[in-house]
Symmetry: C2
Subunit: 557 residues, 2 copies
């Protein structure tokens, strides 16, 4: 099973974009809805692929298309507080979206496939989060075929309206045609979100041509079908209803400006974040700095500060650094999480986020930080938090330590952690629990005990250890050696074993749609992405579109 060698030489993937630069989506705000509705039409440019070699026919997508989608969702939340509903549709005739581009997938390395699927999964979850948390409800307007990842995108919308025209259909043909799974949430959302009966789901997922019209409604695959002539009317009716039930709050738009990161082979310098790479040691260090100037202490001042506010800027930078590590620094397996600066400044920013949580803009900032922290949770690299003199694991930044696989805290005077109200559930993990709750599953009372310290009183190393906030607390004599050895040892282990281990240990407790997608579904998909039946020379994914038929190893257990 030779791995295609295209990725390593490819230019790095960058995740910043802007509607002015979209090549594949048309974002508009139809005047008939008075600005309350955003319309996002897919119009993929065939020759606009992120990498050469695969024309993006029939509104099929690659990572570049999804980066724009993620950007659009993000900007709707921050820059368009007037929007209460989103219509996702297609600008092409008779086709909504034919899913992830197969030739792109077939020519990608295993690591790229895994990364691509994870990012697209995150984007679809953000679409759902936007509805559940921000009140921007979504309708997928399907006038045309919607197959594979196309239908998976529809599944991530609140409602699906299908044109009943004899040809518009929904399908998940991955299993029968490609020998892989509808792994961008498809299988999970069909039975867990739409609660399609398992046997109908089984039939549907093996029916390459998909399901149309009334049957699609009966099986629960779409919410309604309307004749083509009445389609626009149906879209309007449903969109109006979505707007009507939106509880979105008004606020002053916050424009997300470019990050202007300074990148070099040694890493990236952002305003509040530094990513330092040691490719040889296969380690990196992410340092997040506390605010170094006065931060807004009210929603009005936050709006005035715009995206320069620390609470937005620092986490946009962290988000970018995490994606950069995932896609462009595959060799790096272990990441030190550090913080530096004045903990009081972090706690002051937290106070504003806690006090004004009912403000629309503050709400969006909190939700954004929560998403970035979740991105950290599902990044398949080891994170060790390092608390040393000068660090400021306080409040929102304490979440970085709680998200880490281990916490090393130096046993030295002046090294402290601090709790704020923001550790009390503002940033739940994918499993629905706060990081403190996930940490203390065995002793739920410990959560309250720790939160009771949210009085600004610094927690020294000995106390933090007693509370269970640290993993190891070497003193000055042992510190350097212990940290060095910890990173060397970690970096020596099988990266796959670490990935599987972390994916199991990080998500104890309840499972949700989200954790099922990243756990059960992604793990099976990754397995299949390794199997000769899919990616071998005679595998179904490899041979898609070629005259030869795949040859399978038939063994099942």
């Amino acid at each position: 099973m030779a791995e295609p060698k295209n990725a390593p030489e490819a230019p790095p993937v960058r995740f910043e974009t802007h509607p002015d630069h979209y090549r594949h989506w048309r974002l508009s705000f139809p005047p008939e809805h008075g600005g309350a509705v955003a319309k996002l039409l897919m119009d993929v440019q065939e020759d606009g692929g992120l990498r050469p070699g695969y024309p993006l026919k029939l509104n099929s997508y690659d990572l570049g298309v999804d980066i724009e989608l993620a950007d659009a969702i993000q900007r709707l939340r921050f820059e368009h507080p007037e929007v209460k509903a989103l219509v996702v549709g297609s600008a092409k005739d008779r086709i909504f979206c034919s899913g992830a581009n197969i030739y792109m997938l077939g020519s990608s390395t295993h690591a790229f496939k895994v990364n691509f699927c994870k990012f697209t999964n995150e984007t679809r979850l953000y679409l759902e989060d936007m509805s559940a948390e921000s009140g921007i409800h979504s309708l997928c307007a399907l006038a045309g075929t919607s197959s594979g990842g196309g239908y998976e995108l529809a599944l991530a919308c609140d409602e699906i309206l299908l044109s009943d025209d004899g040809s518009s259909a929904v399908s998940l043909p991955e299993c029968p045609l490609l020998g892989v799974l509808p792994g961008t949430g498809g299988l999970t959302r069909v039975v867990d979100k739409r609660k399609v009966r398992r046997d109908l789901a089984d039939a549907f997922c093996t029916l390459a041509e998909g399901v149309r019209g009334k049957r699609a409604v009966e099986w629960g695959l779409v919410d309604e079908t309307v004749p083509r002539a009445k389609f626009e009317e149906g879209v309007k009716r449903r969109t109006d209803a979505l707007v009507a039930r939106s509880a979105r709050k008004k606020f002053t738009p916050m424009v997300l400006k470019p990050l202007e990161a300074k990148r070099s082979p040694m890493g990236t310098e952002y305003r509040y974040v530094t990513l330092a790479l040691d490719e040889k040691a296969r380690t990196a260090t992410i340092t997040v700095r506390a605010p170094d100037s006065a931060q807004p202490d009210s929603p009005e001042k936050l709006a005035a500060a715009g995206d320069a506010a620390w609470c937005v800027r620092a986490f946009r930078e962290l988000d970018d650094a995490l994606l950069d590590l995932r896609f462009n620094h595959l060799g790096i397996g272990t990441v030190a999480l550090k913080t530096t600066g004045d903990a009081k400044a972090v706690l002051a920013a937290d106070e504003m986020l806690a006090k004004y949580k009912d403000d629309g803009l503050v709400h969006e900032v909190r939700l954004f930080i929560r998403r970035v922290l979740k991105r950290l949770d599902v990044t398949a690299k080891t994170f060790f938090a390092i608390a040393e003199p000068g660090s400021c694991f306080a409040g929102t930044l304490l979440e970085l330590a709680l998200a880490a696989d281990r916490v090393y805290m130096k046993d030295e005077d002046g090294v402290v952690m601090q709790v704020s109200a923001m550790n009390g559930g503002a940033y739940p993990m994918g499993n629905g629990l706060s990081r403190l709750q996930s940490r203390f599953l065995k002793e739920p009372a410990r959560v309250e005990q720790v939160l009771a310290l949210a009085t600004g009183r610094p927690i020294d190393t000995q106390t933090a250890a007693k509370l269970g906030l640290t993993t190891f607390t070497p003193d000055d004599i042992d510190w350097d050696d212990e940290i060095r050895i910890a990173f060397e040892e970690r970096a020596s282990h099988s990266p796959d074993a670490m990935t599987g281990m972390e994916a199991s240990l990080r998500f104890a407790g309840p499972e949700t749609l989200e954790t099922k997608i990243f756990g059960r579904l992604s793990a099976w998909q990754n397995w299949i992405f390794q199997r000769p039946n899919a990616v071998g020379e005679r595998g179904a994914l490899t041979l898609y579109g070629k005259p030869e038929r795949p040859e399978f190893d038939w063994r099942r257990t």
Copy 2:
């Protein structure tokens, strides 16, 4: 990645055994507890491997060792109603168990590894089920090292007592030493059952030498340590306490006699079950026959009938057929589930099982049927239930249809299904829901509607279709073609895609420790079992015990 070719030519694996034939375990009932305690000591015979080529040193185990363990657990439940606690220990000095034999794993095909892990997972879940449902609580007495699968076995016990002697330790060295996961429930049970803090679990799972003494208690890895000199005393103290809190019910022992299956290359004939193989078409048919003679209608008569009673015999046979399909007929991917005989006889048997559910023996029979049905749920082959003239999908046998991926029911007079009280929650799936609840997640009221029909009134095809109990209902004109095409199509799909798809669609709704083990953990382990970093020529599993060091592809995402 060349697959070792040992398995196909190997003799078939058989799962029937008896304490008289155990080679690796010593089962005793120490007189000092008056029969209330069973003692199961591991004493693996080095040269007793199921296959040649790997000495079972240091109480390491292969499938043969685990088949005996599964048998012991089963017999304790049926044959020893006086037993209220089980002590699991080792007959060897200074070693409890060193886990699954690495050379066995390293020389096994991927399919065998997957099958082996699934069976051992089931056995450990049965150990937990025995405690939770039958009141036989278990103590693992660890005087010696317990590594990998050894500690995973300990984790499946209710309590773990560790000898504090400077050398006895628990460890999960799979990740650091072998580049694979502690996949027999280890990772899941550490954080989800014992609720070990995630960062401590991370440290523990990368510490090849493991953890001893007080630290093992502090981290929550064991319940108590006692000095070697006081170990036996500690075991007795804890065992007495387990006996004291047992609510096990008295009943007449039921001896499980050999099944005396008639096996041929065409399949297997049992008393109530027929397994018919079509290796060329890669399909099989399992037919379960209704009772053809009067069945016990009271616990007393059940005890008198012994294991010849249909409700025990038929499901022991089905269990054997499923394991035979899994291990010995890898090429078969699609299985027809059929029933035949008098539905009234099934319903009569169900009536006894429902009416006397508080009886100890009836309780065990119900629990056993539930385990066999769960074995069906996690078998990685497609199941299509076929209801045709003469079939009797009634009550307990209706569960076979509800467990199937699809239900084909012929639209013809006289073809009926029937519901009994046993469909109302007697046989929950691993997700904790009944099969009817799992089926009707979208319309929970439908469950009650179907159960209300449990009056012995037959449900014809049209009604069954309306209720949502069938997937497809071809009439006489289409039946043969449709069934033939369904099997041909299914058998043509990538077996891996079908496995991943079914694993996702079968388990909608809540997740439990059990579903997390078979979903999240097993899927990641199976991924790793495909990865060159583990099983390639320079992979960690392949090179274990050899002087060379593994070479890893370091990419992480």
